[in-house]
């Protein structure tokens, strides 16, 4: 799915996959931090966003 999104021109770093157990709290925090940083670097997404005007 990541590949197809990338193929359509969505930046790779916007899509992340992770496997975290409910017991892995620290891993969860780390992954979320890492993802938010990566997405912030990309600036706001304009693709796949609906325009109602």
């Amino acid at each position: 799915m990541g590949n197809l999104l990338e193929h359509m021109g969505i930046e790779r770093n916007r899509v992340h996959f992770s496997w975290i157990s409910s017991a892995e709290a620290t891993k969860f925090v780390d992954v979320v931090k890492e993802i938010s940083n990566k997405v912030k670097e990309l600036e706001p997404n304009k693709k796949f966003v609906k325009d109602y005007n």
Partner: protein, 315 residues
């Protein structure tokens, strides 16, 4: 081709006469040039309606899911692959279906031929790889090889992989160094260009869902786009909704698509919907060495787990 049609008719007549099948699903001549129409023949005297030629671009496997009785079907290479997929996915039982295999020499790209003419085509005929096409203004002779459908260009399974009887001799399969040059071309683009490519691709989409409905894989009782509770996407012409439909539909076909091209064949707006599915076909081929519809004993890769599955995308 004519001997093949005769064979198809004889075999069908025989099956119907002996009562071995309730009906034969094949193609009938259309009412306009280059058109053919799927048909179910139930009486022996009707078998002469069956034809087969280079304009039978739809996939007849689409007509057999949920069938109860015993049926016969005329199957090109790709129809046969989708019958295999149907069997694997329990849409039909192998002993229910009698497959009259037709080794295929490729189907023609109708819009590409139509584009050669300023006005409309009034006659189309073919003979051994030569097409003769006329409009009111002119007649042109074409080499069929130059006007094959996009999916036929990269096809390496022209012969049906599963059949009960053949209506013609097997043909030689083409050997290709690269099965996915079209996908490579899009992959080489930068992000913006990729995005523009797909936006431009679907800009004329009218959401008639002909691509979905012509696809033998799309047999879900209620498609996700039609679901209202929850409603996954809007139903209007917003381009985000349109592309979400195409993107997700393609994904639902991942590892199952045989690249039969029925979606493109059915599209009234000339959209090459395969630009979505082909990427997934390439990925499943590279990651799992998988091509759909070749083996009734194997489950598709997204349906199975193996410790060897690639997992470097996951953290």
């Amino acid at each position: 081709m004519d001997t093949c049609i005769k064979k198809i008719r004889d075999l069908s007549a025989d099956l119907l006469e002996k009562g071995e099948v309730e009906k034969v699903i094949g193609f009938a001549k259309g009412t306009i040039p280059m058109a053919t129409s799927p048909i179910a023949i139930q009486k022996k005297q009707d078998v002469d309606k069956l034809i087969f030629n280079s304009t039978c671009g739809l996939n007849l496997a689409n007509y057999v899911s949920k069938e109860k009785g015993k049926i016969a079907i005329i199957a090109k290479g790709c129809d046969a692959r989708n019958i295999v997929t149907h069997i694997v996915e329990n849409q039909i039982q192998r002993d229910q279906i009698y497959i009259i295999g037709v080794p295929c020499t490729g189907m023609v790209d109708k819009p590409k031929i139509a584009a050669l003419f300023e006005d409309e085509i009034i006659e189309f005929s073919e003979d051994n790889g030569t097409l003769t096409v006329s409009s009111l203004l002119k007649t042109q002779t074409l080499k069929k090889q130059d006007y094959l459908k996009g999916n036929c260009l990269y096809c390496t399974h022209k012969n049906p992989g599963i059949y009960d009887v053949l209506a013609a001799d097997l043909v030689e399969e083409q050997k290709l160094d690269n099965l996915f040059p079209d996908v490579d071309q899009i992959e080489a683009l930068d992000e913006e260009a990729k995005w523009n490519h797909f936006e431009n691709l679907t800009k004329n989409c009218i959401r008639c869902y002909a691509c979905r409905n012509a696809c033998p894989l799309c047999y879900c009782p209620t498609c996700f786009v039609d679901e209202s509770d929850p409603q996954w996407l809007g139903k209007g012409q917003d381009k985000t909704d349109v592309n979400t439909f195409h993107f997700l539909r393609a994904f639902h076909c991942a590892g199952r698509c045989t690249d039969c091209g029925a979606c493109v064949e059915a599209c009234p707006m000339g959209i090459n919907v395969r630009d979505f599915t082909r990427k997934l076909n390439k990925d499943t081929f590279l990651l799992f060495g998988w091509e759909a519809g070749l083996d009734v004993t194997k489950r598709p890769p997204l349906d199975t787990y193996s410790p060897e599955d690639p997992d470097d995308f996951i953290k």
